[in-house]
């Protein structure tokens, strides 16, 4: 048996509490996007010229309980490649060499306070799952980050069969579905996040 099974509950360490990113995360976490003289580990562009898959942009606004855009939120995404493979040791399939699958964007540089990601549409990671993007919301005023998922409106059949989607009350499922739109610059999926209100986005206890 693994040695860890000998650890009792009293010996277990306790999780370090979360704290807010505050208003000044940009030069630490998204320096390039905000024009600070420092690099960031990731930004809004997940693709290069050789990444395989359908190019899409995912964009949206994070709204507070008054319906006002939040201009100091930070969004991170994590997703599979176009074939549904994750660039991670635990996914034993060989991932696309030109796709890490992680993006990070602050909402403080776009005139409308949008976040945006230029990426590929992910494939379904497993049989029975719908394609989706994991999204994490951080902001001043959020002591703990919030997890949500972005599903795609043109995958209605797969969405309806997805176990995670099925765990969400029917009347709230639409908050997880991004609408598809063709624009002169490419395909855009719109995914607004509502922290509160009638259309409050579904957040998960991951």
């Amino acid at each position: 048996m693994p040695e860890t099974t000998t650890a009792t509950a009293s010996e277990a360490l306790k999780q370090t509490p979360s704290q807010t990113v505050g208003p000044y995360f940009a030069y630490g976490l998204t320096a390039g996007q905000y024009g600070y003289p420092h690099t960031a580990i990731a930004d809004s562009t997940l693709t290069d010229n050789e990444t395989e898959g359908e190019r899409i942009r995912v964009e949206g606004i994070v709204y507070d309980g008054n319906g006002d855009p939040i201009n100091d939120a930070m969004i991170e995404i994590w997703q599979a490649d176009a074939e549904g493979r994750f660039n991670h040791p635990e996914d034993t399939r060989r991932p696309n060499a030109h796709f890490e699958g992680f993006g990070r964007c602050g909402t403080g540089t776009d005139p409308e306070n949008r976040f945006w990601f230029d990426t590929v549409k992910p494939g379904a990671a497993d049989v029975g799952e719908a394609p989706h993007i994991n999204m994490i919301v951080f902001a001043r005023g959020m002591l703990v980050h919030a997890y949500t998922r972005v599903y795609f409106a043109d995958e209605a059949e797969a969405n309806a069969a997805d176990p995670v989607m099925q765990s969400v009350p029917q009347e709230r499922r639409h908050t997880l579905v991004a609408e598809r739109r063709e624009t002169p610059t490419g395909t855009v999926y719109r995914f607004d996040i509502h922290m509160q209100g009638d259309d409050e986005t579904v957040f998960f206890d991951v």
């Binding site: 807010t20 994590w78 409050e200 991951v206």
Partner: protein, 233 residues
């Protein structure tokens, strides 16, 4: 390997709504979180290591220097990143950002009337070693006023961001300093469950202190561990 990560321990983490921290009022979800049975999506996450770290990234006394040394009290901050079973979290990225010694952030929206330091930037990162250990050299950050309530001041703190092995282990937190009288007045710190608060306070260490050079502080960080028994179907 399909074991899920342990749940977030809500006896350790703040609630979304903590009304004394006023910005939470309009930014906290009002509906309960929906439990999610982790799939490969949540058991994986970005893997970044040394390739993302430059030679001066872990030395904030040097990575923003233009024509001299930053002002303030030099400190060494070190600690181990562990999971709940005490196993080291190896080769994981730690990102930090902080105010300068005068309590001023270089961020464009920080309007606090305190001087910027031309030789201090305030952001850095490093990767944990085989024991889960990280080390930063920096300047002790100053306290600064903020608009939450009359005469509100944030205690001295350094922001930490950690990835861990999956998106389930993602953590953003703040490290505080022992004995800071502002802690008991700070609604962000006080938003944390009482029994968990002291985990946010670093410990002064004479062993980490470097003779004739800098004080030393230890801040260990515990990320979510992984269930040893697979989740039942």
């Amino acid at each position: 390997m399909n074991k899920p990560y342990n749940s977030r321990d809500w006896m350790s983490h703040p609630a979304y709504l903590h009304a004394p921290y006023k910005s939470t009022v309009l930014r906290s979800p009002t509906k309960p979180l929906i439990p999610l049975k982790q799939t490969l999506s949540e058991r994986t996450g970005p893997v970044y290591g040394h390739e993302k770290v430059g030679v001066l990234d872990a030395d904030l006394t040097k990575n923003g220097a233009k024509n001299g040394e930053p002002l303030g009290e030099r400190i060494l901050v070190t600690g181990r990143v562990l999971d709940e079973d005490g196993r080291p979290v190896r080769n994981t990225l730690v990102e930090v950002w902080q105010a300068n010694a005068a309590g001023r952030y270089i961020h464009k929206v920080d309007q606090h009337n305190a001087p910027l330091d031309p030789n201090f930037f305030g952001g850095g990162r490093c990767v944990t070693d085989d024991e889960g250990r990280y080390t930063f050299r920096t300047i002790k950050p100053g306290a600064y006023p903020w608009g939450n309530h009359y005469n509100a001041w944030r205690p001295n703190h350094i922001h930490f961001s950690l990835l861990g092995p999956s998106i389930a282990t993602r953590l953003v937190t703040q490290m505080y300093f022992p004995g800071d009288p502002l802690l008991d007045l700070d609604p962000i710190y006080l938003g944390t469950p009482e029994e968990a608060r002291e985990r946010l306070i670093s410990k002064f260490s004479i062993d980490v202190t470097e003779p004739d050079f800098s004080l030393g502080y230890i801040f260990d960080i515990v990320l979510r561990g992984r269930n040893e028994t697979p989740m039942e179907d």
